[in-house]
């Protein structure tokens, strides 16, 4: 069986991709960029690019990392094109007004606390360097394996592993996450 799909063969795949992957791709881009309009632009660019080069699409099990790779590249291009963006907190506030709140409507305190927790997580991730942010989002949100992440960012698995380790150390030292995750959530590194 051919590992590659032929260009232009059969049905239009873009609507199916959008139905399956637009939401996670948008949220991934938002976690990178912290800005709704930028995330939307990056995701649009990514899907259009993926559609244009669909002849180079890998086999089914490789589509997800391939698509995420396109999304990551689009986000990184966006980041590099605009280094002088505004403060992240402002961008998050824009998104926060449209955040779906599944918490108990009868408990405003719990809703506020949940919102604060989400804000803390996104702030903590946003404060990570780009190369660590990418692996955290792809691993813990997109749930790609280390090998798939390596394919997505075009690095070796060992590099992905070390970056994940470093990211977890940094996030573990972030007081904002500690306040919302609780003491039991943190493990102590036992040296050799």
């Amino acid at each position: 069986m051919s590992r590659r799909r032929k260009a232009g063969a059969g049905q239009d795949e873009l609507p199916r991709w959008l139905a399956d992957a637009y939401a996670p791709a948008y949220r991934t881009a938002f976690l990178f960029l912290r800005n709704r309009s930028d995330a939307e632009e990056a995701v649009q660019d990514a899907f259009l690019r993926a559609w244009r080069f669909r002849s180079a699409l890998p086999s089914d099990e490789g589509v997800r990392p391939w698509l995420y790779r396109v999304v990551v590249n689009a986000c990184l291009s966006k980041l590099r094109a605009d280094r002088s963006r505004l403060t992240r907190s402002v961008a998050y506030d824009d998104a926060a007004t449209n955040v779906t709140d599944d918490s108990d409507p009868d408990s405003p305190a719990s809703a506020a606390e949940a919102s604060e927790a989400r804000s803390a997580v996104i702030d903590a991730i946003a404060d990570l360097p780009e190369h660590l942010r990418v692996v955290v989002v792809l691993r813990y949100y997109a749930q790609l394996s280390e090998k798939e992440i390596a394919t997505a960012i075009h690095r070796r698995s060992g590099t992905v592993k070390s970056r994940l380790h470093e990211a977890k150390l940094r996030l573990g030292a972030d007081s904002r996450l500690a306040a919302h995750a609780g003491v039991a959530a943190f493990t102590t590194e036992v040296g050799p």
């Binding site: 637009y22 949220r27 976690l31 649009q44 080069f53 180079a56 997580v121 573990g172 943190f186």
Partner: protein, 364 residues
């Protein structure tokens, strides 16, 4: 360090709470449709490149083939450029020997620039042939000028090196020649040797060569003659032209009015005089070399001459050593060229691979 499960939970919860724009997918489809209406039938260059990249990527052998082809093409281009540059660089032409072009126009000569305005002034000196007859710049053809040189090794009986050297001197003097240089070596325990440089009139060079065999055994001889007639004619022609030009400038000098004009003309005369003297010097050297032939004789005591291999195993051993050394030289020369080519090919291949990776990443 934060726990994996907790971090995943936090991240997913935070991300899932982000509202996705409901019209996002439709905007992507609309953008795609705009692309389709705008795009030509022929795919964009990036599409073609990516299609080509995919074709190559599917087979590692094609990747290697593409890299090798690029290396060969670049190497061929580099070789063509090198050959082109070497062919365009010409050896020093005889134009360097031409006279200085002092008749370019008014700007080249301050006198004519001013004189042209006043009218009736003498023009810039130029070598123009007189009406009828040969030009004074042309040197009538003469006999061939040949530089005769030679070297030979003369083996003499033991203890006869000094005597034979004396005989050679007598012969040379008898032919109206002279001994240019003599060196001798006589160390105890070592056979005596001597080297003597003889100079005789060219017409007597062959006579000198004929007087040597009775003195000993000629074991090595190199005789040559270099025809320098054209060089001689060329130098004479240049000399004549320079002398004519100098004469005319000297005439101009007598009519110079201002100090600046006088200085300019004198400078020209000085330059010409320098060149004249250089050429005269070259002619003197040529005259000397063509007038007298030069023969260098190495007088060697027979006892000190290297005994040739007696034959048999010794001779074969010497032959084998010589062949091995020659063969080794050839192999090293060939390998050196191949090694340099391989290094260049590797460097170009690595650069091409890196560049291809960069291009490929940018396509997706």
């Amino acid at each position: 360090m934060i726990d994996d499960a907790v971090l995943e939970s936090l991240v997913r919860e935070a991300a899932d709470a982000v509202e996705v724009p409901p019209d996002g997918p439709s905007r992507v489809l609309a953008a795609r449709d705009r692309l389709l209406t705008r795009r030509h039938r022929v795919p964009a260059l990036a599409d073609r490149l990516h299609a080509g990249a995919g074709w190559i990527r599917r087979r590692p052998s094609r990747t290697a083939l593409a890299a090798l082809a690029s290396v060969v093409i670049v190497a061929a281009l580099a070789g063509a450029l090198a050959g082109l540059s070497s062919s365009t660089s010409s050896p020093r032409s005889s134009s360097a020997a031409r006279l200085p072009h002092f008749s370019t126009g008014p700007a080249a000569n301050p006198l004519t620039h001013g004189a042209a305005e006043s009218g009736g002034a003498p023009g810039v000196p130029a070598s123009s042939p007189p009406a009828g007859g040969t030009s004074p710049n042309q040197v009538p053809p003469g006999p061939s000028q040949v530089i005769k040189t030679g070297s030979l090794t003369l083996q003499v009986r033991p203890g006869q090196v000094d005597a034979v050297t004396g005989q050679l001197t007598s012969i040379t003097v008898g032919l109206n020649g002279f001994v240019a240089n003599t060196t001798s070596s006589s160390t105890s325990g070592q056979p005596a040797t001597a080297q003597i440089t003889l100079r005789v009139p060219s017409s007597s060079f062959e006579t000198l060569l004929g007087r040597l065999p009775p003195l000993g055994t000629v074991t090595q001889e190199t005789i040559g003659g270099q025809d320098v007639s054209s060089q001689y004619v060329d130098l004479n022609a240049r000399l004549q032209s320079l002398q004519d030009a100098r004469t005319q400038f000297q005439q101009i000098l007598t009519r110079a009015q201002s100090i600046s004009d006088i200085l300019a003309v004198e400078q020209q005369i000085t330059n010409l005089q320098t060149q004249i003297e250089q050429i005269q010097g070259q002619l003197r050297v040529l005259d000397d070399q063509t007038t007298y032939g030069t023969l260098t004789v190495d007088v060697v005591d027979k006892a000190g001459a290297a005994a040739p291999p007696s034959g048999g195993i010794t001779k074969s051993w010497h032959h084998a050593l010589h062949s091995f050394a020659a063969g080794f030289d050839s192999v090293v020369a060939a390998l050196g060229g191949i090694a340099i080519f391989l290094v260049c090919a590797l460097v170009l291949g690595a650069l091409g691979w890196l560049g291809w990776n960069v291009v490929r990443r940018r396509l997706v």
